[in-house]
Symmetry: C2
Subunit: 133 residues, 2 copies
């Protein structure tokens, strides 16, 4: 391996490492973060269609929206039609941008007749602990 | 910068990048993951002491237990004595190790008279979306 190639690889690794470090610092801190819990009840007959729409919406939001940091969606084992989503946005502006995004509006439109109830529970983060190495 | 130094830096960055990549793959996937929601009600008179003990327990668990991936603790804005913790463990063995760990036992002992109720809600992950770059 020659010097130039080593420098190129070193540079790429540096960029990747900095990206990682940036994300870790954003994912770990609390600051102006908006952390919310959504509690939904879904029509059981449409549960699979709902989960599919939700999955697509979450994957798109995480991929293309810089301020959407975490969207963890789970269903309750005792009642799978009950869904909870832990949402973390960088700040209130990121949240406002999210609900105006075309993929979010598409998800809302697609699922409007699947969702029997939706409750947004506002929270204050105490500690957001996640593995960083 | 000479070749040897570049190789050393490249090596360090490679190790860090691999650690990041390993963590990202662990944090993103679902697989055998245990994802649970703990719902607690705390004695309001002891809320600050409880949050302090919880913070220490979470920070220690994330730092020293390889299988404890996420512990997100929030309090409800409408009722700050109501706490929710989203917990993600690598697998059931990691969870069992966690509840046997000295720092977890210390937390349980310290907080036993602060916790008015505790409900563990078992969940199935649908999608665990988190920023990875």
């Amino acid at each position: 391996m020659n010097t130039k190639r080593v420098i190129t690889i070193g540079g790429s690794l540096l960029m990747f490492s900095l990206s990682c470090a940036l994300w870790l610092s954003r994912a770990q801190g609390i600051g102006s973060r908006v952390v919310r819990m959504a509690e939904l009840e879904i029509d059981p007959a449409q549960l699979e269609a709902y989960k599919s729409a939700l999955k697509e919406e979450i994957e798109t939001s995480i991929r293309i929206e810089p301020g959407v940091l975490i969207l963890y969606a789970v269903s309750l084992k005792e009642n799978p039609a009950h869904i909870r989503i832990l949402e973390t946005y960088a700040d209130i502006a990121a949240y406002k941008a999210h609900i105006e995004a075309p993929h979010f509006k598409r998800y809302k439109n697609l699922t409007q007749n699947m969702v029997k109830s939706l409750k947004l529970v506002e929270t204050d983060p105490i500690v957001l602990g996640a593995k960083s190495k």
